[in-house]
């Protein structure tokens, strides 16, 4: 894989973007963003089949829906670095008159975003609609989603999970960011999720575990496996085992950085652990 070093460099750069974005406005959600960096980088730069440019309908290309919209920093950074909009715009994150709202939205016309998210639990339903539109349009491309694990506490997900299997929506790969953390603490303490793999399987999904969700090679391998299972009558779920705050030692293994920005000193420390690769915005 000649691209591997490039992808790893991009991952480090995206981490820097996330940290600098949330630090600048002293708000935002670095923890989940950092935990999903490898996944998002791999998705947009190795896995998805994308057309040049952006149009809302996204016919004949893969689509992605971010359901846990609070990890917008990683979404914005990956979109910008993929060329959907200028990387300088990352400077405007959460500022007045910006297209980079706290949570992603189509409202300001930011290329790459097809649905507003932030109020949790809605993304899978939207993805199901888009996936079925693809089938009606005889479009063989796939629909990808990302959800927080805590987000699965929202009941609408289970309506969607039941529907997807019952209607054989097999052009959908829904990934769960399985970090075991949510705002108030460990999911195990807030509201245990039980055995997610068995739950999805009981609902009729095909489930792929990616045990090393912060190892980009493992992510690519696991997602390619997931892709190979599409088109076989079942929706595909990926349980992406990640560490919230990955790549910044003091942000890892805790929910403390779910929605908190680093101060100046903490930023310096965090950035020193992620030296500039392809250039800061």
């Amino acid at each position: 894989m000649p691209k591997l070093q490039e992808l790893q460099d991009l991952t480090v750069q995206v981490r820097r973007d996330i940290l600098r974005m949330v630090h600048k406005v002293n708000s935002g959600h670095p923890g989940g963003s950092l935990g999903c960096t490898e996944f998002m980088v791999a998705l947009y730069n190795e896995l998805m089949e994308l057309k040049e440019g952006f149009d809302m309908d996204g016919k004949d290309e893969d689509l992605f829906f971010l359901s846990n919209g609070h990890i917008s920093p990683v979404f914005y950074s990956v979109l910008a670095r993929k060329g959907y909009f200028p990387i300088e715009e990352l400077n405007t994150f959460r500022l007045i008159d910006s297209r980079l709202q706290g949570h992603p939205t189509t409202h300001e016309g930011l290329p790459g975003v097809r649905i507003a998210s932030g109020s949790l639990g809605q993304g899978m339903s939207v993805a199901l609609g888009a996936a079925q539109a693809k089938k009606l349009n005889k479009d063989s491309k796939l629909v990808y989603t990302l959800h927080g694990d805590g987000e699965l506490q929202e009941g609408q997900n289970w309506e969607a999970i039941m529907y997807a299997a019952g209607n054989k929506v097999d052009n959908l790969i829904s990934t769960i960011d399985y970090n075991g953390q949510q705002i108030d603490g460990a999911t195990e303490d807030v509201l245990p999720l039980g055995n997610l793999k068995e739950k999805f399987e009981a609902f009729g999904w095909d489930v792929v575990d990616i045990e090393e969700g912060n190892n980009i090679e493992a992510v690519i391998k696991g997602m390619k496996e997931a892709k190979s299972r599409t088109g076989k009558g079942k929706p595909v779920c990926v349980l992406l085992h990640t560490v919230m705050g990955n790549g910044v030692d003091f942000m890892m293994y805790t929910h403390a950085w779910h929605g908190k920005a680093p101060n100046d000193e903490q930023l310096e420390n965090a950035l020193s652990q992620n030296p500039e690769t392809i250039g800061d915005y």
């Binding site: 507003a116 109020s119 199901l128 539109a133 009606l136």
Partner: protein, 317 residues
Amino acid sequence: MKKYIDQGKNDTRSGFGAGLAELGRSNPNVVALCADLVGSLKMEKFIEENPERFFQIGIAEANMMGIAAGLTIGGKIPFTGTFANFSTGRVYDQIRQSIAYSNKNVKICASHAGVTLGEDGATHQILEDIGMMKMLPGMTVINPCDYNQTKAATIAIAEHEGPVYLRFGRPKVANFTPVDQKFEIGKALMLSEGTDVTIVATGHLVWEALIAAESLEKQGISAEVINIHTIKPFDGEAILKSVKKTGCIVSAEEHNYMGGLGETVAGYLSTTLPTPQEFVGTKDTFGESGTPEQLMAKYGLDNQAIEKAVLKVLKRK
């Protein structure tokens, strides 16, 4: 006053079903979704003729709204069907984020609105839906008055780009608008000209307003009757023009007087031409079981309630 003839009682939901069936034939992008109420929404014809364009969601309205939003991505024009209660209050946040804020071209089609749903009682009789929907930026809110108009409105909203809330009902009511009348979103219809009072009505109360106007005419009172099928965007100019002539107004709707048509009228007139107004609507209450006629009478939504309101507002001129 101009006379209107009931061409034969029919339900507005059947008007929706007929309109949807016609769209199925004329517009290949139209798709329909239902949350286990196909018969109640009269969607059978569309489904029979376009099985591949119909999505049975099951009893999962939140999922239905999200799926509808997603179907627009790829160029479909989704029409969702369930009761008005489950089309709005139950799924407000899904509509707010995935449809309205995301500006998705979804048509939320809501049957069994108001107390005329009847015997099922207050759990199903939503009287707050117009308020909830009109508060959403970018949402168009339509409440047609009879079978013909509901059919025409259903067809018209497919051509409109953007989210729409289309509200209709369960009971068979007078069908009196012309069968070929073009439906123009946001354009109030003058039904009968008058000089003493304006009655602006929406939905099932338009026919009641016509009956009231006839009775008032016998008492020497000339009422102008306006059918305002679109609550938002609001045709303020039509109302303003009328009250400039009549000097007072009665609003009539099968909805809580708070948050509905009446408040839209009052809000508009308070900033343009403050005008004495009476509200015909439910008075901040839930409904109950009963026949539609009984409930219309008990909750002050029939022609007699409109007549009373007219006599009251005339004294305030």
